[in-house]
């Protein structure tokens, strides 16, 4: 075993700022995947300008065909390419770096990257040629160019290979004994993400391959309802990869910024296990207003099998701030319910980004997601702009902002550069996060009034029987425009700071380089860890916040039932 180990020609660098150990191949792969992700974010962000300024009724900028093309590309570049490239970097970090292990099969990992890159470029070219404005969902029988599907398939194969490189790295770490006992909680969360990713990408392949064959004329027909059912097993589940990944990042940030220990390893890991078992069922939410699917199937699936996955998210939502509270109280911030929170490092974008993400994900994304995912309530918002309002709260406030926060940690640690513009970096999570909160809220408001998503003109120009939306709907969409523009500025700041730091930031010491890994030690059992389960609450402030969350959740949930009860009778 040792002979094999030394035969691998690589080096390990210990970062003097974080103590983390980076293997040289893994480090290059992380850098290249993260940088590509940011390029996708840049493209998607530029496209966001077109989307926002067209849906802002007073501006109504782009022509209809350009708008639908830009919207298709914005969706795919953000939801798929930005997020999954970054997630691959996170997977390599959680395996190779946290376990201090060389990455498995680096050449195959480069192949995975190459396939993903080619796939992303091919898909984007197809969209910008104009014949593939089919939206991210590409519902058949509306067809895109064959290269649209081919690009997605190549990308998916690459991402699948990257997942297996991650699993392989875990095997190597175990075999070469780079750590003792169980993997860290954050790695456990990354394993959850990767398992869900395998399910997700396989579903994508099952439906996109026949659709590709249909686009080149080899398959006669793909059933529209079966397409929707299987596509969403890909489309929604891919968002569940994000949830598992960004929650892992929240745990990591709590550990990095506070030295916080998980309150209970059993609870947090158990919650991740619930994700593996039940989170994929959420894809059924997209089919609630569809014909041909039985009520029982809808109720079981849309409740994520009796809401066990929602339970898991509610657990993480408590344990992460709870762990921070315990760590802060141990440092002496013990006054009252909230001194621990007031004295948190609000000027550190790694922490502020993570905390704004956590609160927004729970209150805006979580509550709205459960509401719209309830079988009957879905009738109120299906295909309205409430839906993008919800998922900008989960995917942008939740995932994207978490990734941004992590990037601020990675610039000195992984990229070995001093961050430029630290003052702007302090501001960026607030500007981006809060404008996104506002943007999501007004989109949900407009959706509650019935405004459609993916719609070029709310004035219905050219329609024989045009409908006149109430003035409040126009006001809401104007506010969507304003909030969106501010959020785009916040996103642009992130790109300026990160790209600027990588290009022009002061070079930092790379630290000691060694041909051998140093095994990772276990967390020291501290006194705090052993007092768990004692009488009384260790995190009363967090508990109060959680109860506030619950009350908001219950009220909003039942308000919507009341609203539903006033509609036409349907049976």
């Amino acid at each position: 075993m040792n002979a094999m180990n030394t035969a691998v020609n690589t080096t390990y660098r210990t970062c003097p700022r974080s103590g983390l150990q980076f293997e040289s191949q893994a480090e290059k792969l992380m850098i290249v995947n993260a940088v590509t992700a940011v390029v996708a974010l840049l493209v998607g962000g530029i496209l966001a300008i077109g989307v926002v300024l067209t849906r802002w009724p007073a501006v109504h900028w782009l022509a209809a065909d350009t708008f639908y093309m830009v919207l298709t590309a914005h969706g795919i570049d953000m939801l798929i390419f930005w997020i999954i490239f970054f997630e691959v970097a996170v997977l390599y970090f959680c395996s190779s770096t946290l376990l201090r292990c060389r990455i498995a099969t680096p050449r195959i990992a480069w192949l995975a990257f190459g396939l993903m890159l080619i796939g992303a470029v091919v898909n984007n070219v197809a969209v910008f040629q104009g014949g593939s404005s089919v939206m991210m969902t590409s519902y058949v029988p509306m067809m895109a160019a064959p290269s649209f599907y081919l690009g997605l398939i190549l990308f998916a194969v690459g991402a699948l290979i990257a997942c297996f490189v991650f699993f392989g790295t875990l095997v190597i770490a175990k075999r070469e004994k780079t750590y003792e006992g169980s993997v860290p909680l954050v790695t456990f969360g990354a394993i959850t993400a990767a398992i869900i990713a395998v399910f997700t990408i396989t579903s994508g392949a099952i439906i996109l391959i026949p659709t590709f064959l249909m686009s080149v004329g080899l398959v006669k027909e793909v059933d529209p309802l079966i397409y929707r059912t299987i596509w969403w097993a890909f489309g929604h589940s891919s968002q569940q990869i994000n949830v598992a990944a960004h929650i892992s990042i929240w745990y990591a940030v709590a550990a990095i910024a506070f030295g916080a220990k998980p309150m209970s390893e059993r609870v947090s890991r158990g919650a991740f296990l619930l994700y593996i078992l039940f989170l994929q069922l959420a894809s059924a939410h997209h089919l609630l207003a569809d014909p041909g699917i039985s009520t029982e199937w809808k109720v079981v699936n849309t409740s994520y099998f009796m809401y066990f996955a929602v339970l898991a998210s509610m657990i993480h939502g408590l344990t992460i701030p709870g762990a921070i509270e315990v760590a802060q109280r141990a440092k002496g911030y013990n006054k009252g319910l909230f001194e621990w929170l007031r004295k948190a490092p609000w000027g550190n974008p790694v922490f502020s980004g993570m905390f704004i993400s956590l609160i927004g994900f729970g209150f805006l994304g979580g509550i709205s997601g459960v509401m719209m995912g309830t079988e009957q309530l879905n009738l109120l918002i299906h295909n309205t702009i409430y839906v993008p309002g919800h998922f900008h709260a989960t995917v942008v406030v939740g995932t994207t902002l978490s990734f941004m926060a992590l990037t601020y940690f990675l610039i000195p640690v992984l990229f070995r550069r001093e961050m430029i513009l630290p003052g702007l970096a302090k501001l960026q999570p607030y500007l981006f996060g809060f404008s996104m909160y506002f943007f999501c809220l007004v989109m949900m408001g407009a959706g509650t009034l019935g405004i459609s998503r993916r719609h070029w003109d709310m004035a219905f120009s050219g329609a024989a029987l045009a409908y006149e939306w109430p003035g409040a709907a126009y006001l809401m969409m104007g506010l969507v425009g304003i909030g969106g523009v501010v959020a785009i500025v916040g996103g642009a700041l992130y790109i300026v700071i990160t790209v600027g730091s990588i290009l022009f930031g002061k070079k930092l010491d790379q630290g000691v380089v060694s041909p051998r890994f140093t095994p990772v030690s276990r967390a020291a059992p501290t006194a705090a860890a052993q007092t768990y389960g004692s009488a009384g609450f260790v995190a009363p402030g967090t508990f109060v916040l959680a109860m506030f969350f619950l009350v908001s959740f219950v009220l909003y949930y039942f308000i919507n039932w009341k609203y539903l009860g006033q509609l036409w009778g349907l049976a």
Binding site: I256, I293, V299, S303, A464, L567, W568
Partner: protein, 179 residues
């Protein structure tokens, strides 16, 4: 920094949980059960449940049925396109065609009476979005969805298409009257 380190205790699944966590898990679990049973409850006692009655269909089959209804029950036409306004008998089967880019025909229903509304698409996916009531249903080609509807308010309603269906998607608006 222990969430990024292997746990101190080898048997992490025996790690005790704090009272904060235990209490919260119980509360959250009860709330999850409430939400689960709420959907079931509404199926028994609520009046807004989407029907699941669905048949496979083809554009020809569906158009034939819709045309028969239009021929029999048209009361007038509207706009310079002469869109028929159909006033079907109470309780009857009512057909609404979704196609690029209109809803056909215009329906005229009676308040507090129940109809069996048949929906399908002739081409791509469309979205039935009844405004200003805000009832939203997916319309999928090849599938005939039969929904019992009971309008509880009179007035003029619009049916906006809220599933992207091509370049003139924004002009796909239909009308429905309730007397």
């Amino acid at each position: 920094m222990s969430a990024i380190l292997p746990p101190a205790e080898r048997l992490w699944w025996k790690h005790p949980l704090d009272r904060v966590e235990g209490t919260w898990i119980v509360i959250a679990f009860i709330w999850c059960m409430v939400m689960f049973f709420m959907m079931v409850f509404w199926h028994v006692y609520g009046k807004q449940n989407l029907s699941t009655e669905t048949y496979k269909t083809t554009p020809d089959m569906f158009t034939t049925k819709a045309q028969a209804m239009v021929d029999k029950y048209t009361v007038r036409t509207e706009t310079d396109k002469n869109i028929p306004v159909v006033h079907p008998p109470v309780g009857s089967d009512v057909y609404l065609v979704a196609r690029l880019w209109d809803w056909w025909p215009i329906l005229e229903l009676e308040k507090n009476k129940t109809y069996k509304l048949h929906l399908t698409s002739m081409d791509y996916n469309h979205g039935f979005s009844l405004q200003p009531s805000n009832i939203n249903i997916q319309v999928v080609p090849g599938y005939e969805h039969v929904i019992k509807v009971t309008p509880n308010e009179s007035g003029t309603f619009s049916i906006v298409c809220n599933e992207f269906c091509g370049i003139n998607h924004h002009s796909m608006v239909g009308r429905l009257y309730v007397k």
